[in-house]
């Protein structure tokens, strides 16, 4: 699991994952906080819950996210 709860992330690109929906295109470039990471099997393929600043909370594929703080 690369993401952990409370971590700041950037949604830096679209994802080709099947869970990506058209309205999510407007989220690219936004920053947010991981509120519920993959809680199960540390699966890089799992969807993580991210709260995007001003855009609400969404389940997103991990390949469109990158951490902002590398602590």
């Amino acid at each position: 699991m690369v993401f952990r709860k409370g971590q700041k992330v950037e949604l830096f690109r679209r994802s080709s994952d099947e869970s990506w929906e058209p309205y999510m295109d407007a989220f690219v470039g936004l920053h947010g906080i991981v509120t519920d990471p993959d809680t199960a099997i540390n699966d890089p393929d799992a969807l993580v819950e991210v709260s995007l600043e001003g855009k609400g909370t969404h389940r997103l594929p991990q390949d469109c996210l990158r951490p902002l703080d590398h602590d």
């Binding site: 058209p22 509120t35 540390n42």
Partner: protein, 716 residues
């Protein structure tokens, strides 16, 4: 008129431009435009009522038909065009107190509300709790979440992660405040259902009585639908009943919340498994017209190691927790090993301890840093004596003669893969060791159990083995069939399921009413604008989030009594007053810029305004430098920053936090207010070379002019 952004906001700007450029000659038409601005501002500020839109349309119509002035007719006609095209948006401002574009800044939801998957108006209910209006707070919460008591105890509280107060010290304790208010309202018989709409004569079947299904049931019942809930288990609650132990969420809490649904007429059919005891065809035969599948994710992943299936002592965490929830109180074993690092693993470990297991070890393949379980839950587990074995990879279940003896493991180290920044655990060579145990509980995640869904042959599933839905409407590829909760998201949070349930209820209502589904997820709705309570800056800064009182450790190790005891009333009221009221202050930074760049005073130390790089905040610092000029308040777009003269003082406050207060000086001749001394000195310093000095006396401008004129006359 421009059609970009919010039409309400744009219309106001257009009318203001008409006035500013003096395009209207007739005073009567100018007055009409002024009145239109006034009414539209009411709409933009969320204070309009049912009479506003008709009044606006009438005024615009009068303008559009004015016989004497062509420009008035053009202005009126242009606005009527906008009103006709965007009437729904205007109406939505009035009905929902929400501006989806955010242009009407007073209607923009706070970050905590935006973050909540159910969109609860957090600042409003926190403010109400702060004032002791607990029942009203519960009413606000239940407009978006029917289970405030459940969420007050077990919510993963994404709102607190986004809480702006967390950029100053610690987030507001939103979850315990909600729990307190729910408990208080219920104990005083003030926890009531809102009135139900008249019966629509249509029925909806919900398969699964978990939080997602029951949320949908609540909102559908309120809309007047007949709702039947089919549940395989003997009680309602789903994962919150079967997966969350009683020491976190007492069963009585769930029962009371479920009783509220039954009071609305929701019918539960327990011990009824879809696909076995009933079917889609049978339910259709009973008159159900829409179906919501909220079947959860109850099937565990397998460990996939040798020996896993050879011994009865290897059990799955969700099965273990389910048995205990349904009344099995036998200790699972003497020495328990739980495999996993999530909340379910922690719950299983703490449950085993309470049932009398002597040692409980939690084996997790990564480090504490990567553990996905709630940090507080992990801490509490350690306090109770759960042993955490990090960097431990299960290799083989070992035993003899059908009896489990232990779990062979490997030590791991975290290694960065060449092609990614992902650290992954890699076994250390020759690091085998044996964890002796007589019971292994596997808690490495769950998936949706598809058993019983065969009848829905055409139903689309994702590659993650979840039901494929449109996340905006929760509709599947089968008309009239919707899905929600863990069955859609995979194992997720209670509040996410509740939010999905509410969305599904709205979508089912649209489906049964023949309306098209929306294309975007709903924007959270503001439920009110509670006035800010005044609090001194030093108190706002020094109030600390209280620690949660816990049950004593011996009882925690031996009973299922609720561990978190909740805040007492004084702590709740204080904690609520730590809220920064981000529903009113949008942190646009205009006040800081004006004070620093225009006035050159730089008295506002609001480091929390920045999301990415918050720096130090100190409300107390304002009083040291602020001259009370009022430039910040005059330029605040939302009215968050206010300056007023009262009781001989000038007071500057931000959302009720008093940043500065100073005594007012008055004209020695006429008594007119001059301002605070610091402000007068600032003005005099700036105007030293041009200002007329009235000796050392404090005079208003008018009296100073008279004094100067008198002095000139005397000189003559």
């Amino acid at each position: 008129m421009a059609h970009n952004g919010c039409p309400v906001n744009r219309s106001i700007a257009a009318f203001e431009d008409v006035l500013a450029t003096e395009r209207l000659g007739d005073p009567k038409n100018q007055r009409r435009v002024e009145e239109l601005i006034q009414l539209l501002t009411d709409v933009a500020w969320g204070r309009a009522g049912d009479a506003h839109l008709p009044a606006i349309a009438q005024l615009a119509g009068e303008l559009a038909q004015d016989p004497g002035e062509a420009r008035a007719r053009e202005t009126g006609a242009a606005f009527l065009g906008v009103l006709n095209e965007f009437r729904e948006v205007f109406q939505s401002h009035i009905d929902t107190h929400n501006c989806a574009s955010g242009d009407c800044v007073r209607l923009a939801p706070a970050p905590c509300q935006m973050t909540c998957p159910a969109g609860i108006d957090v600042p409003t209910y926190v403010s109400l709790i702060g004032e002791g209006r607990d029942a009203e707070a519960i009413e606000v919460i239940r407009r978006d979440n029917p289970f405030p008591w459940v969420c007050g105890l077990v919510c993963t509280r994404p709102c607190e992660f986004m809480c702006v107060r967390g950029r100053i010290d610690r987030p507001v304790g939103i979850k315990p405040l909600k729990g307190f208010a729910a408990e208080r309202a219920l104990s005083r018989s003030q926890y009531r259902n809102p009135p139900r709409e008249s019966d629509k004569g249509q029925k909806v079947a919900i398969i699964g009585a978990g939080p997602g299904g029951m949320s949908a049931a609540y909102y559908l019942a309120l809309k007047g639908y007949g709702v039947g809930v089919i549940e395989a288990q003997p009680s309602a609650g789903g994962m919150i009943l079967l997966g969350i132990p009683r020491y976190r969420l007492p069963r009585e809490v769930i029962d009371r919340e479920v009783a509220m649904l039954q009071e609305l007429g929701v019918e539960f059919r327990f011990n009824t498994r879809f696909g076995v005891d009933t079917s889609l065809a049978a339910l259709r035969g009973e008159g159900y017209e829409a179906f919501l599948f909220a079947i959860g994710a109850h099937q565990s992943f397998k460990l996939g190691i040798p020996g896993e299936g050879d011994f009865a002592g290897v059990v799955e965490a969700v099965d273990f927790l389910r048995r205990v929830a349904l009344g099995d109180r036998r200790a699972p074993g003497h020495r328990v090993v739980v495999i996993g690092g999530g909340n379910v693993a922690i719950d299983a470990a703490r449950t085993a301890l309470r049932l009398g297991s002597e040692t409980v070890t939690l084996a997790y393949r990564r480090t504490r840093h990567e553990m996905p379980a709630d940090e507080e839950e992990v801490e509490q587990a350690e306090e109770e004596g759960i042993q955490l074995a990090f960097l431990t990879i299960p290799k083989e279940v070992v035993g003899a003669e059908g009896r489990l003896q232990g779990l062979r493991c490997l030590r791991a180290e975290m290694v960065r893969a060449d092609d990614s920044d992902r650290l992954r655990p890699v076994p250390v060579r020759d690091s085998d060791f044996l964890l002796e145990t007589d019971i292994i509980i596997a808690a490495i995640g769950q998936r949706v159990d598809e058993t019983g869904m065969e009848e829905l042959a055409g139903l689309a599933w994702t590659r993650r083995h979840t039901i494929d839905v449109n996340m905006v409407s929760m509709e599947t590829n089968q008309p009239g069939i919707f899905a929600v909760g863990d069955a859609v998201t995979g194992p997720a949070t209670v509040i996410e399921a509740i939010g999905g349930g509410k969305r599904a209820a709205e979508a089912i209502d649209r489906h049964l009413s023949g309306l098209p589904q929306p294309k975007m997820p709903p924007v959270p709705v503001r439920r009110g604008r509670v006035a800010c309570r005044e609090i001194a800056a030093n108190r706002k800064m020094t109030l600390k989030r209280p620690e949660m009182p816990l049950l004593n450790i011996d009882r925690r190790r031996t009973t299922f009594q609720q561990v978190e005891l909740g805040y007492d009333e004084a702590a709740v009221r204080d904690e609520a007053s730590r809220c920064l009221r981000c529903d009113i202050c949008l942190r646009c930074g205009r006040c800081v810029e004006i004070c620093r760049d225009k006035m050159k005073v730089d008295a506002l130390q609001m480091g929390y305004f920045d999301f990415d790089h918050p720096v130090e905040t100190d409300f107390r610092a304002t009083a040291e430098r602020c001259i009370l000029c009022g430039a910040c308040a005059a330029n605040c777009p939302t009215g968050a920053m206010r300056m007023e003269d009262r009781d001989g003082e000038r007071v500057l406050s931000l959302c009720g936090t008093v940043l500065n207060r100073q005594a007012l000086l008055c004209c020695e001749d006429c008594g007119a207010v001059l301002g605070p001394l610091r402000y007068l000195e600032y003005v005099r310093k700036r105007h030293a070379t041009i200002a007329l000095r009235a000796d050392s006396r404090s005079l208003c401008d008018a009296c100073a002019r008279q004094a100067a004129a008198a002095a000139v006359e005397t000189d003559r």
